[in-house]
Amino acid sequence: MSNMIRRYGAPLTLLICLLTAFWLLMLVIVPNITLLESSFRPYLPVADIGGPKDVYTAANYLKVFNGAVDVSFLGIDFQLPVHVLTFTLTLFYSVVVTLICFMLAYPLAYFMAKILSPRSLPTMFLLLFVPLWVSEVLRAFAWWIILALKGPLSWALVNLHIIDKEVRWITGYNGVMIGLVYTYVLFMIFPVYNAISSLDSNQIEAAEDLGAPWWRIHWRIVLPHAKPGIASGAVMVFMLSAGSLLVPSILGSTTSQWFTQTVQQWMLDALDWNTAAAYAFLLLLMCTLFVSLVMKIFRVKLSDIAN
């Protein structure tokens, strides 16, 4: 702080601090605390708010455990509360989306960072950026058109005689995953690209000079170096996927349900803002825990992320 005053003088320092405080306090911390507070209060008719029924309770959270459904996984049958199931599936498919994004992005990021000539790079970025700038709704919508039963994909495959009857592509979580991968793969490409391009090409050449085949160069040199970038991309893709509402709403099938949709149901269908708050908080908490756990396992720090 004294460093700042020395550099910018007291009035400017104060202004800077106030602006930052407004952001962090009024727009981030207090809203989340309010959210947390609301989540511990029951949903009551307007007349009862502030009345004797308005007490702190964890009931909203416990609603996740209502309504058990039968689940069969790896041949084991068991019961799981329906929202827990939804939540688990949301996490699971978010992880799958993250993995697919990584597998798609890594070769491309490597190509851009180490093979493509620097002169073509801006063009490459431009081409990749175009879909990013087109709104998420429209991107999901584009896939909805493509994947429709009578859409271009079925049409093309039928006419190429690869399939003989139109196929419904949006089944289970297929549509959601396709949409999420398409929408968020760029969030994997850029950090991984950044990480790889910060790798000194001499290291790759040194490894090659020492006799390493290409796969070992990737395994021993490029991947370890790109780890923070990969972690950063993975966290972004995972969080964005798990928190996405649009894509599951547009590309969901009759058997896919995303946890954000459940939250939205509480909010907008059941009008129970308190339970919605509890669910929203659960989503935030669990995703954060999950990400921290994974980051711990892979030994990456938050500061490596979002570079």
Binding site: D200, N202, Q203, E205, A206, A207, E208, D209, L210, G211, A212, P213, R216, R220, I221, P224, H225
Partner: protein, 360 residues
């Protein structure tokens, strides 16, 4: 375990820019050979062609008598040490050193033993389990050498390996590198733009400029008998006089300049019109009386104390500055600024040379 290298008419183009132009060199097995030249003259390009990262546009490269065309870097008996060393920062020291063995499928115990032996050899025992970031510059240097030696190359290629170190350490590492080369007997090809390094370490030096090799010779010949002005100026200081040859006989020539006639050795390649006379400051003498030949009256304009020697600058009547270096051992008297002196030199110490072997 050591091999010779032959470059025959090697050229390398990047687009329509010729980075290396018709290089012909034969490096002997076990030799310590340096390429010396200013930045951008094509040194790294030559090294990368030898190691296989770049294919020559034309010409052939042989290592140990075998044509290397089409051989990938990992198939050549060379090991490259990069300018920035390119140690793997995420591996420990011993993993770095044994990486070349790891990719050859050598088992861990053997690798570890070999790494320790090599660390012993480069005088870094006990560093095996450290990380790269824990080492100092000179220690990293040694690890890089150990890593390159681990794959038992016939030729070591070193691209300005000392340029990142500070002066004292650089001088220390020179001796060490030279010693390792002697110990292992491997052919070393060394790149530098530091004339001191090239002269002090090498068996032979190839001086390059703008993609062309200007002179290949042992250090003494490079310094004492440069073939052209580029080599003379790049390697050491000079007083330079423009003029033209008047008479020539027995390798000596008369040379007419604006300051009067001089006499000096006539360089082998000194043909045509663009000739100059070069004489080194340490061969330039200041005295109170004129000498018989090669003598110019000057006024002392600056005296600069440089430690082991004292540089005295004299201005001629035409305004040219002539520098004489005196030893700081009490043997010479240092003139005051403003006094008149005669700068002169022995004709055997001066040479008449063309600017450069090629065009500019």
């Amino acid at each position: 375990m050591s091999a010779g290298i032959d470059l025959k008419n090697v050229c390398c183009d990047f687009g329509n820019f010729r980075a290396v132009d018709n290089a012909n060199i034969s490096i002997k097995p076990g030799e310590f050979f340096s390429f010396l030249g200013p930045s951008g003259c094509g040194k790294t390009t030559i090294l990368r062609m030898i190691s296989g990262f770049i294919e020559p546009t034309s010409g052939s490269i042989q290592i140990g008598g075998k044509d290397m065309k089409g051989q990938r870097p990992n198939q050549r008996p060379t090991a490259l040490i990069f300018q920035n060393l390119a140690l793997f920062p995420l591996m420990s020291i011993w993993e770095n050193i044994s990486f070349g063995l790891e990719v050859r499928g050598v088992d861990k115990a053997t690798r570890r033993a070999k790494a320790e032996a090599l660390l012993e050899m480069v005088d870094l025992p006990g560093a095996a389990d450290k990380m790269v970031s824990q080492l100092s510059g000179g220690q990293k240097q040694r690890v890089a050498i150990a890593r390159a030696l681990a794959v038992e190359p016939a030729v070591m290629l070193l691209d300005e390996p000392l340029s990142a170190l500070d002066l004292k350490l650089r001088q220390h590492m020179r001796a060490e590198l030279r010693a390792i080369q002697k110990r292992t007997g491997v052919t070393f090809i060394y790149i530098t733009h530091d004339q001191g390094e090239a002269l002090a370490m090498s068996d032979r030096v190839g001086v390059m400029s703008q993609g062309r090799i200007q002179q290949v010779a042992n250090p003494r010949d490079i310094y004492n008998n440069p073939v052209n002005g580029f080599v003379a100026s790049f390697v050491g200081e000079n007083n330079i006089f423009a003029g033209s040859v008047s008479t020539a006989a027995d390798g000596m020539a008369g040379f007419d300049t604006a300051l009067g006639p001089f006499r000096a050795r006539l360089g082998e390649q000194a043909k045509g019109s663009n000739l100059k006379l070069y004489v080194r400051p340490e061969h330039t003498i200041l005295s109170e009386t004129a000498a018989a030949e090669n003598s110019v009256p000057v006024t002392v304009s600056e005296v600069s104390f440089e430690g082991a020697f004292i540089a005295v600058h004299g201005k001629t009547t035409s305004g040219q500055t002539i520098v004489a270096e005196l030893r700081n051992d009490g043997s010479a008297t240092v003139p005051e600024i403003g006094t008149a002196r005669f700068a002169h030199f022995n004709a055997a110490h001066a040479a008449i040379l063309p600017d450069s072997t090629v065009g500019a």
